[in-house]
């Protein structure tokens, strides 16, 4: 599979809302308190309103991630991003993440598949691509290294 770097996105997680035990697992909602993104073809900020990650811890120990974020480029374009992902790993590593420790991202699986929508002519290439991201969970919020699938 061929890929090329699309952007790196750093987001800040505000307080996490514990919804609790739902029929499919344990639901938490992590509203994003803004962030930044930067890549060869676009850069800007993550808007805090309406950006959050809906987390579902499944009974098999896999965390499902369902992120929606609104990106604003430095030239004013709005881009809607939706990304489904999975996070899992050895219990000790996941526990360290839970304590807010910085963990080598290669020691656990944190991958997402972002999709983008925009009306801005300069960025319509985003409407036409599939992407894959590697996540790096930090105490302040995840860093996503997002690659375009060529």
């Amino acid at each position: 599979m061929n890929t090329r770097p699309l952007l790196t996105m750093k987001v800040k997680v505000a307080r996490v809302l514990d919804v609790g035990a739902v029929p499919y697992g344990t639901r938490r909602i992590a509203p994003l308190d803004g962030g930044t993104f930067e890549g060869p073809r676009l850069r800007g900020t993550v808007l805090p309103g309406g950006s959050a990650d809906w987390l579902l811890l499944r009974p098999d120990g896999v965390l499902e991630l369902d992120l929606r974020a609104t990106l604003q480029t430095d030239d004013g374009a709005l881009i809607s991003m939706k990304s489904f992902g999975l996070r899992h790993g050895p219990p000790a590593v996941i526990a360290a993440l839970g304590r807010g420790e910085t963990v080598d991202p290669s020691t656990y699986y944190f991958r997402t598949t972002p999709r983008f929508e925009t009306a801005h002519p300069a960025y319509t290439f985003l409407n036409r691509l599939i992407a894959v991201a590697i996540g790096d969970r930090r105490a302040e919020g995840p860093i996503y290294t997002i690659h375009e699938v060529l």
């Binding site: 599979m1 098999d60 899992h88 999709r115 036409r128 691509l129 599939i130 894959v132």
Partner: protein
Amino acid sequence: MTAPINSRSLMVLRLATSPIEEIGSTPEGTLTIFPVTGGSFEGERLRGKVLSGGGDWVTVRSNGMMTLDLRIALETDDGSLIHMTFTGIRDDANGYFRTVPRFETAAPRYAFLNRLLAVGTAEIRPEGPVHLIEEIL
């Protein structure tokens, strides 16, 4: 610093479809359903047949690209059932046909499928669509 994306082959999926069902113009675009009547899948870790009964819901969008929404059931050669879905993009103007498959199974032997993300590269061959699906490592 940009970590590379590594992947490894998961399966080659070949689908057989019956005549399309043209739903037509909807608020989302032009919707066509491709019923899946069978097929096969093969990889190092799993192989078997595609069961009849699923389909791919394909919508032509206002920008000319197609979006795909497939759901099918796979049966491995040892009798396990795997529920497979994907969404994807087919953009013939750019020769781009990629999907993001997901799998669900209750079979312990194949539980690794529940825990991975994958990307498919597809092409339409005379015998039907062929998807080369890679696990994202």
